[in-house]
């Protein structure tokens, strides 16, 4: 896993406009505010209007089964990496979807498309999901098929 993180880091270091996190310590809300203002001036201000329809929506299943299987680092990964890779997205948590055998699971809804649920998501697959599915719209292995659409509901 460490090697993998290093790979990501080298990849990220090629991204322009990356803010190198300063070493100054943050201990109070005042420090937090100061740091935020520093960042703002160094960053091209991306307009983040809250319009879920035009955003990638990532929902990480975080019930007992998901958390026990490692959903927390996956969620942190998505929050961090969508931002770093300049993908407008909203990452939220959801409850158990009944796919406990395949946890951690992540549901991705691209604008104008039906949601897709990916199972067995580790950091490597999360990276693949961002690169292949979110960026290119290309499906990858390990999708949990939608099982609520029956023959009846298809007409």
């Amino acid at each position: 896993m460490n090697n993998f993180n290093e790979n990501i880091c080298t990849e990220i270091s090629n991204v322009p406009n990356l803010i190198i996190r300063s070493m100054s310590q943050i201990k109070s809300l005042a420090d937090l505010k100061k740091k935020r203002e520093e960042i703002k001036t160094g960053l091209d201000l991306r307009v983040k209007a809250i319009d879920p329809e035009n955003h990638v929506q990532v929902k990480v299943a975080m019930a007992t089964c998901g958390i026990a299987s490692g959903a927390k680092p996956i969620m942190e990964f998505f929050v961090e990496q969508l931002d770093r890779r300049n993908i407008p997205g909203i990452v939220t948590q959801t409850g158990c979807m009944g796919y406990c055998f395949a946890e951690p699971t992540v549901e991705i809804k691209l604008p104008g498309k039906d949601p897709v649920v990916f199972g067995y998501v580790d950091l490597k697959r999360a990276d693949l999901i961002i690169e292949k599915y979110i960026k290119e719209g290309e499906l990858i292995d390990g999708i949990i098929p939608v099982n609520y659409e029956t023959i009846d509901s298809k007409e």
Partner: protein, 184 residues
Amino acid sequence: MLTLALNILDIVQNSIRAKASEISVDIIESKKTDLLEIGVGDNGKGMPEELLSKVTDPFVTTRTTRKIGMGLPLFKYQANLAGGDLSIESGEGKGTRVKVTFILGHVDRQPLGDIAGVMTILMSANPEISFLYSHKTDNGDYRFSSVETKEYLGIKNFNDSHLLMDIKEMINENLKDIGVSDLN
């Protein structure tokens, strides 16, 4: 669940599902008394007495996808392993408060883990809920409020990953200051 922080993340989901608008996580640890106490309180819809009496039974859940719920039983099991227990106070319309105790120096007590990460995840994923986190040790205490932070920074939600990392760092630095050691 390998850390207490993950157990907290799990049972806070109960509060979120109970439609709470305020959730507090209080941790008190004392080397003097060798006790660790974790409290999770909410102002959600609460539960009736008959559910309360059997809610730590794994075969009881309000969820409809399956007939078992493991969150509270797992946390209780961890407390029992480390010489402590889990108790719940609740009433319909009165919210719920879960209290979990441990012997701090017990060999089987799980480490606290990434509590700062858990709090930032909860805040970013649930912007409409107000989270209050407080941590008390023999050396002092630290308090973090999501509402206060939002007001101070003049923001409405925490969907900026740099800010989240900074908040996590801020919480961790303050916890280290008051002598919280098992944060990983």
